[in-house]
């Protein structure tokens, strides 16, 4: 996700780092790159213009003076402005209403409302709340059926509705049902609609009036183009939105919608959706997202994801090891592979590492589950001593391991090479790649001096 933007901005920062000072002309080149990068990431043109102007104003202003290098200063400004654009901090759901607190989902066709509804229901139910879901989508064939399946997967209650019902009737009935049966939260899925379809926009406004939702969430596809701005504006005019869910963020090279939706609606992005599995919904952290765009990686988010997916202690130990790059052995490598499996694969994790590190990883390798299983098999064929000290493994041990795992010796070599690379990567990070970047960041921000 956001790979292109990350790569681009990383490159800009690099060229600027070579410069002695920040001048009107060299900043101009960098800003043009920022503009093109943002446009290619589908960030809306007016938002891009505002953004570039703001960055320029700050970069040429007093705030740059006194920081370590001009390049770092500009990256700092870009980072801060990106964060500001996406909203200052993560905003969670506000369900502090008299139960049942109603959540209304709205958005275009195919934006991911029903899938997100299931994910959200699961997340809320995990917080020990009694959740009821209902579908008001009487238009798309089998939409109700889809929510029913998703609800049962999420382990929450589903109130049946039928295509011949009136959406408003379904909503009233659901509200009554939820009230009399003491549900904490009622989640209402709606049909996808075009912002220019007046009848349909009226319908959802009526639904909103009848339900008095605590949260009205606008679901938007992260791959959406320039039009995201118009759609978001139209929805926020028709409905008092309280937040945004950004879906399909596991796609490639996009995310401009994240930058512009908040700017246009003024509403916080509360969650991001990744993948079709029901655990693929994460709180949105603007600060971390900005860091990720700048190629600084996202260790914190990685740890959080790990915490939910695997044993917390193990995750902390792993994060500690990632940070230190010390004592990382094949046993950990194996544990990591197992954790990755429960966290939605290696790709999801790699996404959170700094751009300069991920460049050295071949994505095709990452996705091959079979290969992961094979690696596990190879490691399983090693003794505890070999796992702790891989340098022990020479020709004859390699042959034994290969025979034990049922693979050619070359595979064992490849694994050891990969492991070595990984160890190097972690050492690099420990040597302050990350820490230094963070410090530089602080120096560039006005409050950090």
């Amino acid at each position: 996700m956001l790979d292109n933007l990350t790569a681009r901005l990383t490159r800009i920062a690099k060229t600027l780092r070579g410069e002695a000072r920040l001048t009107e002309s060299n900043i101009q080149d960098a800003l043009r790159e920022v503009r093109v990068a943002l446009l290619e990431a589908d960030c809306a043109l007016p938002v891009v213009k505002d953004f570039v102007a703001a960055v320029k104003a700050y970069a040429l202003g007093e705030e740059v003076i006194g920081s370590l290098t001009p390049g770092q200063a500009l990256v700092g400004v870009v980072h801060r402005e990106l964060t500001r654009l996406m909203g200052e901090a993560n905003v969670g759901l506000d369900l502090a209403a008299q139960p049942p607190a109603v959540i209304l989902m709205a958005g275009l066709q195919g934006s991911g409302k029903t899938t997100s509804a299931g994910k959200l229901a699961r997340l809320i139910a995990a917080g020990k709340k009694k959740v009821l879901v209902v579908s008001c989508d009487v238009y798309r064939p089998a939409a109700i059926e889809q929510l029913k399946t998703v609800a049962s997967q999420a382990g929450v209650d589903f109130l049946p509705s039928a295509p011949q019902d009136e959406p408003l009737e379904i909503a009233r009935r659901a509200l009554e049902h939820a009230r009399t049966r003491y549900y904490d939260v009622l989640l209402v899925d709606t049909a996808g609609r075009l912002a220019i379809d007046e009848a349909m926009m009226c319908e959802i406004a009526e639904l909103h009036a009848a339900l008095h939702p605590a949260e009205t969430l606008f679901v938007v596809d992260a791959m959406q183009g320039q039009d995201a701005v118009n759609v978001a504006r139209a929805f926020s005019q028709a409905l008092p939105l309280t937040g945004v869910i950004l879906t399909k963020l596991d796609g490639d090279a996009r995310g401009g919608a994240a930058l512009s939706v908040r700017h246009v609606t003024g509403k916080p992005i509360k969650f991001v959706g990744t993948g079709e599995k029901l655990d693929g919904l994460e709180p949105f952290h603007p600060e971390r997202m900005a860091s990720r765009i700048l190629g600084m990686g996202d260790i914190v988010s990685l740890v959080e994801q790990a915490r939910r997916g695997v044993d917390e202690q193990q995750a902390q130990a792993l994060a500690e090891k990632v940070r230190r790059g010390r004592g990382f052995d094949l046993e950990d490598f194996k544990a990591q592979i197992q954790q990755m499996k429960s966290m939605g694969g290696l790709a999801a994790l790699v996404d959170k590492l700094p751009a300069q590190l991920t460049g050295s990883i071949n994505p095709a390798q990452l996705h091959d589950d079979r290969q992961m299983r094979r690696i596990e098999g190879i490691i399983n064929s090693m003794t505890a001593q070999e796992r702790a000290r891989p340098e022990l493994i020479k020709a004859s041990r390699k042959r034994r391991i290969a025979a034990g795992a049922g693979v050619p010796v070359q595979e064992v070599n490849r694994l050891l090479n990969q492991f070595e690379q990984m160890q190097k990567m972690m050492k690099q990070m420990r040597k302050g790649g990350l820490a230094r970047m963070m410090r530089a960041m602080k120096g560039a921000l006005p409050g950090g001096r």
Partner: protein, 313 residues
């Protein structure tokens, strides 16, 4: 001459009207704004800049936009175009030259059964498009069979079955089965029942999910096993709302499957369609159909001239 010569002129008018209505916002960004601009103004640098912004806002993409603007600029210099009206004509011509090669009709009657495989990202409108496509093929006098190859998403099979019921088209599917097996069965059934066209649905997938891309390659291979030469058409369904990622999708699916056509859906919303220009420049896969509405008849063959007219006028 506009691609619908065989249709009644009345129907053509309503179709053009609908396409125009669908592209109203794009026109507001591109044509509407430009129409007002171009009519009165002199051709100067500010005008080109506004033109550039308008093309960018219509999702044409940085690369295609710059190329179009450069071309227009060169032409304005060479032919001494001085008023906006002439510039508008030049823009139309440039756009038409760009997208005209994409206009190539689907010939589903050339073999029997003609197997169409449909792919795309999640939520792009595959299943809905298949329903509409089935209706269109029936209107061409062809019998159709649907294969519910989306065995992953909740209720995808039911959704396709509902479309099948509406059109009176048989649907082959199995709960939670292997998509390849479903397609294999469907082709077998079509051979046995002497059906003209098989349309195979597949689960939505993002090109970054490499294991799913491998899976869909397998579905294609299985189709070829069931019937040598199949699938005869591999369609990518693209959501017109998608920005520059549409290009990445076309490239990724083309590399995996060898696309023979694109269906552009949801063109009835607001500003969009410009991504067609980017696709035409970088990966010119024929644009077989565009969807401009929710009704079952709202899927029609792409007509480049109509598209450009609707975009600019």
């Amino acid at each position: 001459m506009f691609g619908f010569a065989n249709k009644a002129s009345e129907e053509k008018a309503s179709w053009s009207a609908r396409l125009k209505a669908g592209l109203a916002r794009t026109r507001a960004a591109l044509g509407g704004g430009l129409g007002a601009l171009l009519g009165r103004r002199k051709v100067d640098e500010a005008l080109f800049e506004e033109l550039e912004a308008a093309l960018l806002t219509a999702d044409c993409g940085v690369e295609a936009t710059q190329a179009l603007i450069e071309g227009l600029r060169a032409r304005a210099r060479k032919e001494r175009l001085e008023d906006g009206e002439a510039l508008k004509g030049a823009l139309k011509q440039a756009l038409l030259e760009l997208v005209a090669p994409l206009e190539r009709a689907l010939e589903a009657a050339r073999t029997r059964p003609f197997v169409i495989m449909v792919a795309g990202v999640n939520g792009s409108g595959k299943t809905t498009s298949i329903g509409k496509l089935a209706k269109w093929l029936q209107s061409q006098g062809l019998s159709v069979l649907l294969a519910a190859g989306d065995t992953f998403r909740a209720a995808a099979r039911e959704q396709l079955a509902a479309w099948g019921e509406r059109n009176g088209v048989p649907v082959i599917g199995q709960a939670g089965g292997d998509p390849g097996a479903v397609v294999f069965d469907a082709i077998g059934a079509a051979l046995a029942r002497r059906i003209d066209v098989v349309i195979a649905d597949t689960a939505g997938r993002l090109p970054t999910q490499l294991h799913l891309m491998e899976e869909i390659k397998k579905v294609k291979r299985v189709a070829a096993k069931a019937l040598p030469g199949a699938p005869h058409e591999v369609l990518l369904v693209l959501d017109a709302n998608t920005g520059q990622n549409a290009l990445a999708q076309v490239k990724a699916f083309d590399e995996a499957l060898g696309l023979t056509g694109i269906v552009l859906t949801k063109l009835d919303g607001t500003a969009k369609g410009g991504v067609v220009c980017a696709i035409a420049r970088q990966r010119p896969v024929p644009l077989r159909f565009v969807g401009v509405g929710e009704g079952i008849d709202d899927l029609r063959p792409f007509a480049a001239r109509d598209f450009v007219e609707a975009l600019v006028d």
